[in-house]
Symmetry: C2
Subunit: 336 residues, 2 copies
């Protein structure tokens, strides 16, 4: 390694390494002129303090890890965008890990992150999770953790969520107002936080309007595109719903494809509403009525929340839960 380090820079300037080091930190006492001389030379020689040495010395990495179930999803890429912006403004870097909804990957990622690589974690949990207790195994040494959107309710850690119950209630209400009598709820994992909360909003809205709740109108979908296609087509033909409320974006897409195949007309034969952050929802055929979460803002808030924890580990006055509001945007897929 012939690259430049603090020692060579010190030699080149006839100064000690401590002085050089001081020039790169704001708080230290250092002569203004020397500082400038150092910074100039540093720029000339393209010197930068080695992050790993600093991290080792300071016991922090200025890095946060972001763990998401999937990337090819407008919601998550927007959320990450928000996280990235806030992190950068705070001088932090972000590591990305994708679980593909695989619980084992999630556990492995988290465990490996506890080696100093990251100072904190922002995570939307995998859909498969059964035993969340692994998160408690770290005891007091667990890294600061912030959940967003998909959370484990039994883990005590700050979280950023949206008003899912209300949104689901309103979404279902909207379908009822548009004349739907048999509304199916499509969900990937109904035992998971968001699947469950969203389902409750649906059930309660049905109750309010005295629409009979049918267990089999809750359609359990999977993570596989092919399987979902079959499941949804069967649901459409067997259950003959006149409205569909999907808990995640890709189930709405799958519904559209199924309807095209089966010659089911949206919205005449079937009305569709979905959670989705798709920016081009108006361009779909027909344009899709969505419950749109403020994805970027969720990411930003999650990052901010993590930073308040990092800045002040002791302070227990920080908010433990931030709830943001989603918007229902009515479009043609639920037209009367």
């Amino acid at each position: 390694m012939d690259s430049i380090n603090i020692k060579k820079l010190a030699e080149a300037l006839n100064l000690s390494t401590s002085t050089i080091s001081r020039a790169f930190r704001d708080n230290s006492d250092i002569n203004g002129a020397t500082k400038e001389r150092i910074l100039a030379k540093a720029k000339e020689l393209n010197y930068q303090p080695n992050h790993y040495a600093s991290n080792l010395r300071e016991q922090k990495s200025k890095t946060i890890a972001v763990i998401v179930p999937e990337l090819a999803n407008n919601y998550f890429s927007q959320a990450i965008h928000g996280i990235e912006r806030v992190a950068r403004e705070n001088g932090y870097h972000i590591l990305i890990y994708v679980t593909d909804d695989d619980y084992q990957k999630e556990v492995t990622f988290i465990r490996h992150l506890h080696n100093g690589r990251a100072d904190g974690i922002i995570m939307s949990v995998s859909g498969e999770a059964n035993d969340h207790n692994y998160l408690n195994k770290f005891g007091s040494k667990r890294l600061p953790l912030v959940f967003f959107d998909r959370i484990y309710e039994d883990i005590d850690t700050p979280r950023v969520i949206t008003n899912d119950y209300d949104s689901s209630f309103l979404a279902t209400e909207h379908l009822i107002e548009q004349g739907c009598k048999r509304i199916a709820y499509l969900v990937v994992n109904k035992s998971l936080s968001i699947g469950k909360t969203r389902m409750q909003g649906y059930i309660d809205a049905l109750a309010k309007y005295q629409v009979t709740f049918e267990e089999n109108l809750i359609v359990d979908c999977s993570n596989s595109y092919e399987e979902n296609s079959l499941i949804i087509k069967e649901a459409l033909t067997q259950l003959k719903p006149d409205g569909i409320f999907t808990s995640v974006e890709r189930l709405a897409f799958a519904t559209y494809y199924a309807c095209y195949d089966l010659n089911v007309n949206i919205p005449n034969d079937l009305k569709v509403i979905s959670f989705s952050s798709l920016e081009i929802a108006p361009l779909l055929n027909p344009s899709l009525t969505t419950i749109t979460q403020p994805a970027i803002e969720i990411g930003e808030k999650a990052a901010e929340l993590l930073f308040t924890v990092l800045d002040d580990q002791a302070n227990k006055n920080r908010p433990n839960e931030v709830v943001l509001t989603s918007k229902i945007i009515k479009r043609n897929s639920t037209n009367k």
Copy 2:
């Protein structure tokens, strides 16, 4: 810091730190039984070698940085997914940086990465770039770098691209075959590699069919949604094209919105084809004819290429350019 480290683990086992260290690497001589004893105890105490100490000692970080212009774009999120998978399989972590097409951010990211934080960089360059020479300033100390998709032609480094010229030629040909006489080409930065290559395919296809090339049918768009909306509406009303070929996905979306507003019917009044990795292109109104790049594969190849460079810095026999093939998928937006 009361966390566990190699020294404490050594004490707990009555061994030396070097023996512990050896247990965590495969190549070293160590008694099988001791190794197991160490690993068992390590698991019990939740010990993991500190990455920053290892990195400092070994002068490598097992981390690669990925720099992209934007995240909320199906192409890039898919590419990153591919990169992430290959990286993980190789035991590498990935850092994500988003430039928002801001050249200054790109320069800053790259410069800061040369502090040991990453072993290599995979980048799709920002659209604004003027002076690429900053990349040469690092001399022999420049980190291994792989470009994908949006490249600087004047920088000598491995790259993964698609057959953009051919695709553009075929796309234009397709529009001509569908009866278009006035085909506009929408581009964000025509001096940038992909904008230029794609334009050349367009121009040559026009020539082949003796369609007159008109300079003003090359429509220069921006990175702002609002500006593009105005630019495209003006282009539609002033230039009255009967076909549009857009170099990036979001210009196709902007075109759809503009047509909705202006009551221009696609495909009757105007046919549209675009580069796009949108998985739900069939669901658009009308379904969009696309040139679809193998985004995930591009990411995978870029990562593989970087790893061959990292594995063997000296070997100059590695491929310097990988060209993958895009697919034209004809849909209703170019129907006769």
